[in-house]
């Protein structure tokens, strides 16, 4: 049973609605229109306002007003500039360097701002292999960062690691001599540490796709060109 005050309020509201339904409808329509127009105006005045970079940057300088600059002050500025340029030069590769885009599977050989070679490669697949019934797990990814050509190998021989046997469903050999595979890595290899190399492939049709176990595969002609042009110590940047 509803309490008396609520019953009275409900009855009063009904009476009001009956008597003034048209006025209330107009009032509601008016309020809705005002809310809609207000919302539209607010929306028009909200969001992001864009201006050109040059225009926006004019008031962005954090430099203090130069004021009266004396010759010793200009000298100090020049020395500071020279110091910074020298610091930058120390981390800038001198001569040739290799760039590998492991997502787009592209390899470049650059010399300063010149591009000497642009090749399609195959980087790591990013897949994971778990040892059946074991504890070991391997991630087949090409590492990112800065490396160097640490070794240059002609007719490289692949010493198959455990994962290669597990992936193929083969027993892991006890005799180390059973791990060597000839010819699979192409004519040359450029070793850049931790077991990673840039080498050739028997599966050139898969170049451009991320299929390797972490090494970087190149086509025969590009590998020949890279091997000839990249000396030991050439920096390698992988991203």
């Amino acid at each position: 049973m509803m309490p008396m005050p609520f019953r009275l309020a409900r009855a009063s509201l009904r009476a009001v609605l009956r008597g003034r339904s048209r006025q209330i409808a107009w009032l509601l329509a008016g309020a809705s229109t005002v809310a809609l127009v207000g919302g539209l105006v607010a929306a028009v005045g909200s969001g992001y306002v864009y201006i050109s970079l040059a225009e926006a940057g004019a008031d962005q300088s954090t430099l203090a007003d130069a004021g009266d600059i004396t010759l010793p002050a200009v000298g100090a500025l020049r020395r500071e500039r020279a110091r910074l340029r020298s610091a930058l030069a120390q981390v800038t590769p001198k001569g040739r360097y290799i760039v590998i885009d492991r997502t787009l599977n592209k390899l470049y050989l650059r010399d300063a701002d010149k591009e000497l070679l642009a090749a399609i490669c195959s980087a790591g697949s990013g897949a994971v292999l778990n040892e059946p019934g074991g504890q070991r797990q391997w991630l087949f990814a090409t590492p990112s960062g800065r490396f160097e050509v640490l070794g240059k190998i002609v007719k490289p021989v692949w010493k198959k690691p455990d994962w290669a046997f597990i992936e193929a469903g083969e027993p892991i050999p006890k005799n180390p001599g059973d791990r060597f595979v000839y010819g699979e890595l192409g004519e040359y290899a450029l070793y850049f540490g931790n077991g990673y190399m840039i080498h050739g492939t028997l599966y050139e049709r898969l170049l451009g796709r991320s299929v390797s176990h972490g090494c970087v595969r190149l086509g025969r002609d590009d590998l020949r060109a890279l091997y000839a042009a990249a000396p030991l110590g050439t920096p390698i940047y992988v991203y």
């Binding site: 909200s46 992001y48 940057g57 030069a89 885009d101 997502t103 650059r110 697949s125």
Partner: protein
């Protein structure tokens, strides 16, 4: 022996007028203050050294060269040409939201793609040891198949700056479709500012060709840094 000084004086006067006319005498009246130029150069170099001596990938947005450069250390890794650059500030009912940070003189860090790249990690199932059946290795998808690229995306940095990467309008798109697309974009911006949760203090909108925008999305490294170079940069 007497000499007439008039021809010599005349020669000096004419030479002075000529040299003045070709700009060899006196100070240049146009161009930037060399001290300001020097200080701007130092400011840019200082940030570049800060980034180059770190161990993270970073982007340099060069206004002068109209390009975005991907760098590591001091090495230029990739260049992405930019068609247009704009800076956007958020506003709510015609009023600017929050303080505008000094975006052009700061190193921005920990850039992350929004929406992020959806990369699936495949788990290989090796065949049982000694199984006779030859396993057929599936051909993995191409990068185009594996990583679809949204028409617009952000690289959002901590502390309130985001690069908005857009592609130029498709000329084959009809008038109504383009209006609806722009309206949808505008509405998403309004919603983002009104919600306050994902509002960026500064958005730098870059228009890149489709292939360039796609390449950037697919290969920009995680936690990338950014600096904006308004003057000359060393690359």
């Amino acid at each position: 022996m007497s000499t007439n000084p008039r021809p010599a004086a005349l020669f000096v006067a004419v030479s002075a007028v000529w040299l003045g006319a070709v700009g060899l005498i006196g100070q240049p009246t146009t161009g930037a203050d060399p001290v300001d130029t020097l200080r701007t150069e130092i400011e840019v170099l200082d940030r570049q050294v800060e980034l180059a001596t770190g161990k993270a990938f970073y982007l340099i947005l060069s206004e002068e060269a109209s390009e975005l450069r991907l760098m590591f250390g001091g090495a230029l890794l990739q260049q992405f040409p930019v068609s247009s650059m704009e800076v956007g500030y958020p506003r709510l009912t015609f009023r600017r939201v929050g303080e505008v940070p000094p975006w052009s003189s700061k190193v921005w860090r920990n850039g992350a793609l929004v929406p992020g790249r959806a990369v699936e990690t495949a788990v290989l199932q090796p065949p049982a040891a000694g199984a006779d059946d030859e396993i057929e290795t599936p051909v993995p998808p191409t990068v185009e198949e594996a990583i679809p690229v949204p028409e617009r995306y952000l690289i959002r940095f901590t502390d309130g700056l985001a690069l908005e990467i857009a592609q130029p309008a498709d000329p084959s798109e009809g008038y109504i479709a383009s209006r609806l697309r722009l309206l949808g974009l505008r509405w998403s911006e309004v919603r983002s500012v009104m919600s306050q949760s994902t509002v960026d203090a500064v958005r730098v909108r870059l228009v890149l060709d489709r292939t360039v925008a796609e390449a950037l999305y697919r290969s920009v490294p995680a936690d990338v840094g950014l600096m904006m170079a308004r003057g000359r940069t060393s690359s």
